[in-house]
């Protein structure tokens, strides 16, 4: 793949992930726990890890959080700090699991792991922000919601990648 093509494809992934990140913030989930999200941008992170590698995935994830928070008007605010720490930690964890623990762990398993790591990183960042360990009280509830959202994004990414390879991309 030429450099130009690579650049354009990664740029497209950043755009898709940024929009997913921003749109997700508009969707209120009927859940009484603050901070529960679908993690739609996770689909893009998984795809980039699978197609390119961890460096590209990390760059796309960081660019996505910057772009998404600019669109959502939360740039450099506390939710930006939470977003960037969650995105970086989960991308690195997923990339590691993708390269080391497959095929015994499937893409869906990698996604579930990423969702869980995302929540742990965000709670840690939140605890540092408010200088109180009490927010860890939320972690079990967040982990519980990480299961269905991680499964959903994992299956979506797997479906997308299967379609992509059949299309010859």
């Amino acid at each position: 793949m030429t450099d130009t093509r690579r650049l354009v494809t990664l740029g497209l992934f950043v755009a898709i992930a940024g929009v997913l990140h921003a749109v997700e913030a508009w969707l209120p989930l009927p859940v009484p726990v603050p901070g529960v999200k679908l993690g739609l941008a996770n689909i893009v992170s998984l795809a980039v890890i699978d197609l390119y590698g961890w460096r590209e995935a990390l760059v796309v994830a960081a660019a996505r959080v910057v772009l998404g928070s600019l669109l959502g008007g939360a740039f450099l605010g506390p939710s930006f700090a939470l977003g960037i720490s969650g995105a970086a930690a989960s991308t690195l964890a997923m990339a590691y699991a993708h390269s080391r623990w497959r095929p015994s762990l499937s893409l869906v398993g990698v996604s579930v792991l990423g969702a869980a790591v995302h929540n742990i990183a965000q709670i840690t960042a939140a605890a540092l922000l408010v200088a109180s360990a009490a927010v860890f009280w939320y972690l079990p509830y967040l982990l519980l919601f990480a299961l269905p959202t991680g499964l959903a994004t994992g299956f979506t990414a797997a479906y997308f990648l299967a379609k992509l390879s059949r299309a010859g991309g």
């Binding site: 015994s104 109180s132 927010v135 519980l144 499964l151």
Partner: protein
């Protein structure tokens, strides 16, 4: 796309961790002892409010900007108003039993309910 055995193990471990954590939360939740709301701003304890029936107190944190209005009333506490953009603290509503809490990340405010008496099983045998 089928789940592998490792996937199922991972899901099982996460479920067990979540269930264990929630169980621990519920076990620590004490409805009998006296409850106190501890109000923290930027990690520092601002005030402890005893939560009693019929007791009302309003506490304003911050200045004209970055403010939170904490209201304790009749054994419950909530953040009635704040100027943070997400309003998550206001939407959390009333909390009344430990270890419930209200968190306002933008203003770095935590209102934490603590039980001033430990959930003492030995009460019965005393």
């Amino acid at each position: 796309m089928r789940l592998t055995r490792a996937d199922k193990w991972l899901i099982g471990i996460l479920l067990a961790a979540a269930a264990g954590g929630i169980g621990l939360n519920l076990a620590l939740l004490s409805t009998t002892g006296a409850q106190e709301a501890r109000v923290y701003r930027e990690g520092k304890l601002v005030r402890s409010i005893r939560l009693r029936a019929g007791y009302h107190e309003e506490l304003r944190l911050g200045g004209a900007e970055r403010y939170n209005l904490v209201v304790a009333d009749n054994g419950r506490v909530k953040i009635a108003a704040a100027d943070c953009p997400d309003q998550l603290c206001v939407r959390t509503g009333w909390v009344s039993v430990a270890p419930q809490q209200i968190v306002c990340l933008p203003n770095r405010v935590v209102v934490k309910i603590v039980s001033t008496e430990p959930p003492d099983v030995d009460d019965i045998t005393k």
